[in-house]
């Protein structure tokens, strides 16, 4: 089972929930940080790293001696990454999405595969759990192709040793967030009951409900703000899987890099129960039932 922890609004507690779930998870687990722009899970799980590799995107490299300036490549490219002007070909590697179209299309075989570094993938052990993270290269704009490579590495790790995975997704509801949750079996939405939290939560629900995956809500900082989120979840049939109280001591523990499940026996119990409810959600609901109940 693959569980994504997503949110819409940033800073609602995705990483807090992921780290605590990983700490109390029953059974073999890979904890994955897919918030590749700003990965934070390692700050809480403190993994012992075992390896890392650079990840690349395939981009075209021009052999000018073969080019006839026919313009087929620039006509195909939807991302303005290659441009033919008279007897001049310009490539803009940072614009390339790595579709491979120009290389396959060039009638003169003047384009061959090169590469652009997207970031670094690293892995290790965090207690009983295996750990995997991606860290986007600073200045790199495109996180989705990099996230696909991190997920491919996750596939290898899960093939080598069966078990579950929990993915810490990036904030937002556009392509990076959808890319993070698209291959998971269950989506856990972490929110806070404030107007900002609620507005972005509705966007997240709109973005993720069409995927037809079982979804549930964790309300963080419960007691802060208002009740809108609860009404919305009831209307949409989204189960509230856990509530984490609004409590300055929790915020202070987080600010020291502590795992919230370790703060008190009650909180530990909250996350053990959350883990159980996530499993139930995956097992009991055929895709779509929960989201559209």
């Amino acid at each position: 089972m693959i569980v994504s922890v997503a949110s819409g609004k940033g800073g609602t507690g995705k990483t807090t929930v992921t780290a605590s779930l990983a700490a109390v998870w029953d059974g073999s687990l890979v904890a994955v940080d897919l918030d590749v722009e700003e990965p934070n899970l390692h700050l809480f799980l403190q993994p012992i790293m075992e390896g890392c590799e650079r990840a690349h995107l395939e981009i075209p490299v021009l052999d000018e001696s073969r080019c006839t300036f026919c313009g087929a490549c620039s006509e195909l490219c939807q991302f303005k990454a290659i441009s033919v002007m008279g007897q001049l070909v310009l490539t803009f590697p940072e614009m390339c999405h790595g579709c491979g179209g120009c290389i396959a299309l060039c009638p003169e075989k003047a384009l061959s595969p090169g590469r652009r570094e997207l970031g670094e993938i690293s892995w290790g052990l965090a207690g009983k759990a295996r750990f995997l993270m991606g860290r986007l290269r600073i200045g790199e704009a495109m996180s989705p192709p990099f996230m696909r490579l991190v997920k491919a590495k996750l596939g290898e790790m899960m093939a080598a040793s069966a078990g579950d995975a929990i993915l810490d997704a990036p904030p937002g509801v556009s392509c990076p967030a959808v890319n993070a949750v698209i291959d998971s079996d269950v989506i856990v939405l972490v929110t806070e009951p404030t107007p900002f939290g609620f507005y972005d939560f509705q966007l997240a629900w709109e973005a993720f409900a069409p995927l037809g995956k079982p979804m549930g809500t964790v309300v963080n900082r419960a007691g802060l703000g208002n009740e809108d989120i609860y009404h919305f979840c009831r209307d949409k049939g989204l189960p509230i899987l856990a509530e984490i109280p609004y409590d300055r001591s929790i915020a202070e523990a987080y600010s020291c890099g502590r795992i919230i499940a370790d703060v008190s026996p009650e909180l530990k119990e909250t996350f053990i129960s959350l883990g159980g409810k996530i499993r139930d959600l995956a097992e009991l609901s055929s895709p779509g039932e929960v989201a559209h109940a």
């Binding site: 934070n40 999405h97 579709c99 600073i138 904030p171 404030t194």
Partner: protein, 292 residues
């Protein structure tokens, strides 16, 4: 004309609440929400829309099942795993389709249609603090970077046309495509951080991004009393790198209260938080060379 963008790296540090207060305090400005993916500034400013524009960007492959012979060329060439073959025929998963046109170009039957994608809307609005340009990317859509560019362009044109000196922008979290777009051509990036390991880690990355693009960078520590040690580490980082530290703001429930009332904090009765925020805005003005 100057352009200031409020960013954070980590989400949830208080960017939007602080931008809202700055929108109240700043004179002669256009307000612009560049977090097109999960915009929240409108919840504080309650804009009335004066103009609505559709945002189309990129294209999306769609297979015409009558023309398709299921030869499999498209699926074999698609790098994004977007082509699915089921009993009903071959189809494209719109959430995975990158709009690269490779399947269109290589389909031997010309069976792939390629319509433009409708990705969102953008708005020109008026607020009690002045004009505002903002947008909503449709949930799950892509190309937020291009929409950010559209908004910035609009905001600048409006400022020029109305003789205003400032474009004040609320940015997105992270360091990827929308953030990079929001930084382009900006005079000053103000990062709002919090004294937590994530806040500091993400601040360091977003600072490096601004250095990479040679954008002037300054820092506000929000909720600084949550962890004084962590706050000192952030201060040391700023000193070492030469980033101006504009403010240490206390953790204050006034921020949530204002949000629930649809107001910005400087509209509520004064607290230490709002007093410090008023001083902070003066420092931002000085740093951005905004004359009185």
């Amino acid at each position: 004309m100057r352009e200031i963008v409020i960013i954070s790296g980590k989400g949830g540090t208080g960017k939007t609440s602080i931008t809202g207060a700055f929108a109240h305090l700043a004179r002669n400005k256009v307000i612009c929400d560049l977090d097109v993916d999960a915009p929240d500034l409108h919840l504080l400013l309650r804009p009335s829309r004066e103009r609505v524009e559709e945002f189309h960007s990129g294209y999306e492959a769609q297979i015409d099942k009558d023309e398709c012979t299921r030869c499999g060329v498209c699926a074999s060439m698609c790098r994004f795993g977007a082509i699915r073959e089921t009993e009903d025929g071959v189809s494209v998963d719109p959430l995975r389709c990158e709009g690269c046109k490779v399947c269109v170009a290589f389909c031997p039957e010309d069976a792939v249609r390629f319509p433009q994608k409708h990705c969102g809307q953008w708005y020109v609005s008026s607020t009690r603090f002045g004009p505002m340009v903002h947008a909503q990317l449709f949930p799950g859509a892509e190309n937020s970077g291009r929409l950010v560019m559209v908004l910035k362009q609009q905001a600048k044109e409006m400022a020029r046309a109305r003789g205003l000196d400032l474009v004040l922008c609320d940015g997105a979290p992270g360091i990827g495509c929308p953030v990079i777009s929001s930084l382009s051509g900006t005079h000053l990036a103000v990062a709002v951080t919090e004294p937590t390991p994530s806040g500091r880690h993400d601040l360091e990355r977003v600072a490096e991004l601004c250095t990479h693009f040679q954008i002037a960078f300054a820092v506000i520590i929000n909720k600084h009393d949550l962890n004084m040690d962590e706050a000192s580490r952030i201060e040391a980082f700023c000193r070492e790198k030469g980033y101006p530290l504009l403010a240490r703001l206390p953790h204050d429930p006034i921020v949530t209260r204002a949000m629930i009332d649809g107001l910005v904090v400087t509209e509520l009765p004064e607290t230490d938080f709002s007093r410090e925020l008023i001083r902070t805005w003066k420092r931002v003005e000085d740093l951005a060379h905004l004359g009185p």
